[in-house]
Subunit: 345 residues, 4 copies
Amino acid sequence: MILILKSGATDDQIDHVIERVEALGLQAHLSRGTFRTILGIIGDESKIDAEAIRAIPGVASVVPVLPPYKLASREAHPDFSIVDVGGVKIGGGNLAMIAGPCSVEEEDRMYRIAEQVSAAGANIFRGGAFKPRTSPYAFQGLGEEGLKRLRDAGHAHGMPVVTEVTDPRLVEVVCKYADMLQIGARNMQNFALLNEVGACNHPVLLKRGMSATVNDLLMCAEYILSQGNANVVLCERGIKGFDTATRNLFDVSAVPLVHQLSHLPIIVDPSHATGKPELIPACAMAGIAAGADGVHIEVHDCPEVAKSDGPQALLPEQYAEVASQMKALAELLGKTISPTPEKTA
Amino acid sequence: MILILKSGATDDQIDHVIERVEALGLQAHLSRGTFRTILGIIGDESKIDAEAIRAIPGVASVVPVLPPYKLASREAHPDFSIVDVGGVKIGGGNLAMIAGPCSVEEEDRMYRIAEQVSAAGANIFRGGAFKPRTSPYAFQGLGEEGLKRLRDAGHAHGMPVVTEVTDPRLVEVVCKYADMLQIGARNMQNFALLNEVGACNHPVLLKRGMSATVNDLLMCAEYILSQGNANVVLCERGIKGFDTATRNLFDVSAVPLVHQLSHLPIIVDPSHATGKPELIPACAMAGIAAGADGVHIEVHDCPEVAKSDGPQALLPEQYAEVASQMKALAELLGKTISPTPEKTA
Amino acid sequence: MILILKSGATDDQIDHVIERVEALGLQAHLSRGTFRTILGIIGDESKIDAEAIRAIPGVASVVPVLPPYKLASREAHPDFSIVDVGGVKIGGGNLAMIAGPCSVEEEDRMYRIAEQVSAAGANIFRGGAFKPRTSPYAFQGLGEEGLKRLRDAGHAHGMPVVTEVTDPRLVEVVCKYADMLQIGARNMQNFALLNEVGACNHPVLLKRGMSATVNDLLMCAEYILSQGNANVVLCERGIKGFDTATRNLFDVSAVPLVHQLSHLPIIVDPSHATGKPELIPACAMAGIAAGADGVHIEVHDCPEVAKSDGPQALLPEQYAEVASQMKALAELLGKTISPTPEKTA
Amino acid sequence: MILILKSGATDDQIDHVIERVEALGLQAHLSRGTFRTILGIIGDESKIDAEAIRAIPGVASVVPVLPPYKLASREAHPDFSIVDVGGVKIGGGNLAMIAGPCSVEEEDRMYRIAEQVSAAGANIFRGGAFKPRTSPYAFQGLGEEGLKRLRDAGHAHGMPVVTEVTDPRLVEVVCKYADMLQIGARNMQNFALLNEVGACNHPVLLKRGMSATVNDLLMCAEYILSQGNANVVLCERGIKGFDTATRNLFDVSAVPLVHQLSHLPIIVDPSHATGKPELIPACAMAGIAAGADGVHIEVHDCPEVAKSDGPQALLPEQYAEVASQMKALAELLGKTISPTPEKTA
């Protein structure tokens, strides 16, 4: 950690800063420049609260040298982590192909879509039973009955299932049915929820918040990891941008950036990132080419009757087409679409 | 609602769209232009899910004519609402002056700061007992003991108190001590929490999320209002921007925009919006000049030992100075700093 | 074009709007809804200035039905355009591989880098002779001498050359040496410059401005096209974002979006988009996978002595590696790295 | 300047960095921390190109200690500058009230609007003769004839005039008629134009670019100052944001931030910042309350026939109302609306 002092910092202020730093068991290395005085802090930076230091009179700014996350960092864990979701591996060259409708809907529709996406190459089935909707008047999901339908349709076709949990009080029931818990973008910094999913041992799909930097995303993963749950998969799903031509702004560079900073797998979700079926295949391919550990795509067999997000759903036949292109690209890059347990066996 | 069809929409597609619209009990008014066909939907737009309509084949885009929120709109409630927080009025020309430390801290410090901000003109005391921190390793608040200290210090100086609630399971205990519940920016779209505070009758201070449009903010207010709790005060506290010179980007234009669209009061929080003590007074004044119904400022008597957000705290004497400027400005604009109940009596 | 009237629009206001529309030789189709009145405008929308219409009393908003650009649209030109740059084709399945240093530097270095990137597969050589620098104290480029060196080094290795023009007074001299003119991001809306390059017949590489939507970018292309120069290639080079982990925010979704809206080729520039050598290869691959018509990468053989943008340059051997990966990906997608004229012959 | 080295930086790399720094006549102060090595650079930082240093192998990041602008900084010039525009002072407690139509239009209309805004308290008259339009098909301005009309109408009412210059070739003719030259937001980083206006001695109104940080804005002012023209006034006119409810995002915090970092005056332009007449008065007041040195507002007596930007124009009577409120606020703050020369005499 480096402290840059204000140009007019007095000797008394400098002494006081050094005193505060040494009281924390660290050393301060003073360097008086031509225009400014600088203090290098030597010792275990993780012991210091950068914020408190920045509030000391005379301090202009604090430059951290280490990232604020530890368990999520590559330095702590140089190899890429592989997360196992009901037998399907994510990370380290193994790609997740997550597909399914936005919301869980009728039972027969769920079976039909599960069959279609599985045939196309999907290895994890998705669907929302508790929906975070921007309008209180919109469909809020089928609840526990939805969880049951999702699991039954997915497992019947050999696929583990992932579904969103939106409330710390629901973690237990969602764990009963789902193989993987999704934390949605709007809840990325819902710390009560992060702590709760950190305390269970289910794999977690943590979506990047719309105004979150990659550093913010890794700090939220750290919340889960610090509770003892190491099974975290990150997801880039578009951030807030100024061009309303797409629903969000797909930040594909987050993929190599996360791979540089962290050992955790990261997948992409071009459905939410673009909100436009005609852009999804190109962005799915871009994600794989950038090194993503999987792709999450919403699929519905009749988007105009979908309970939510119909306009951004791919039809099963459109999904099949992009899935086969992704498979070819994965092979070119030396990666594998993870087989489902049955297919493994 | 207006539907713009794709340039190549077929007659069959057009018929199908009209059929779908009429099945909802509405009328479709067809208008074939030179280049595009347009359908005006006549009837109660609130019955239709714009999303489902947009997914019908042949539809290029859907233009809503009415705002998606109802209870929060000026049309539903033409007069400005006045929210009463333990006897302090907010809205309709009555200004809230909310001040206090970021986190609740030692008992004597709480009393001291409460005394100082009250003397300077504050009418509501603030402090966090459950802190949403970006790092799992940072101070997380004093919990119920903190709530008690906050209430005791505030009430001892005649001020009702506001504090953040971060978890739906904590709404009950927070209601026991606090006069107003704060929903923080990171939880603006935590719908489980919104529903829970909507179900109680405590006044709510709803902060704008960092990637939320004003429309998004009003939709979240609608969640609370739709549960029966009409005591909602909005807060502009800075949104995500590209210039890191300030912590967030203070969107002062949200104040007149909310006043145009909604009857709900809106205050500003220049502490979180700028993160820089030297910019806070100017932005507080800007907020009042733009018509804000109050100002929220963090105050600490020794920022370098603050448990959180020390670098952005004003000293009590700095607060006193800007408070007196705000009072003069309020008078010029024909507004009143709301008296506390004791002072009223 | 659709006009949505204000909720309280009077009959006199409605009559006045219709009168104004009809005076323009168009028809207004009135539709009185339950809550709002709507006017569909029938006729050639391009005759109307949406802005003037929006200022008529009683008009709440104007919804355009057609895009504001014409010559740049897919509707005007359904096939993808192919732009020829000194014998190298860009677009329609032909990929540009543009490489070279940020600034033109010493003569022998230019020859050396040209040789290296050409051997790696580059087909167009780049280098800046007139540099738009954010500091007036930074290196401003070698001027005409730089243009000469760039051309000589590029042509000696069979590659046409592209260089930036920053001033309308310099278009003539830059045309003397360069095979393609680059308009930089900061000058995307420098309309005097756009008109000047539109009046010559040289191919133009038009970079997206940092705050430009895709629609804004296409409007600037329209400026050039409307002057008679049809040889426009667009370039996504990162837009302004809130995460400072990368220099800009690489918007890869702009590639399929431009291909949907326009016939013009679009390439990507991961060097400026990310500003980080370690992220460039992944983003270059993402661009190709998303359908880009080429990739622009800055290469320098000793970045620490580069006159500009050294920290984001790839070394020649790094470029060779990503170029070979891009070639394999292009083949998978059924595309061709355009051969240079010599290699064609 | 501080160099943070990569965690694995070798001794050879460290030696090479020190060698490079010393070759520039500076000293490097080495500090080996527990996890990272840091180099403090002592000497005149302005001699070093941070970019080149960052490209040296082993360097992870470069932290500048001083701002990159010099002439524009408060350190170089501790008192606030006062710029004189044809006898009207801007800065140091003197407020500019700039008003007039977006484009110069008919002669009698120009006289009429000039008379109205002058009566309301405006002290500088504005109007565009060379218009930067996003569409090549929109009205491009009246050229030299427009300059003449603007000057005649303004001067006839005792007001100096400001108008935009968009092309370095036009600086001479614009100087012939205008008392102040405006550089528009789209041309903020048109360095050829900045150099040209820097070489003349006319006062310059430099508008902040839509994706420009405050630091970027001050660097562009530095361009003009470094050419010898010290008469620069900055203008906050809204930056790019994600909420399309307003045309741009009005960053009022830029006003106190510029006053902290620089001696240059800064005014606000709520017309372009919001694009909505109903929000302009509130934002104008916010600007003054935040300390702005003036306010720029577009006024037209019949917005629906305006040649450009009609929908955001205030009517003369609306301008008169907000002008009288701004005057009262200025008095409260101890500031003066600058008198025009005639009124001074």
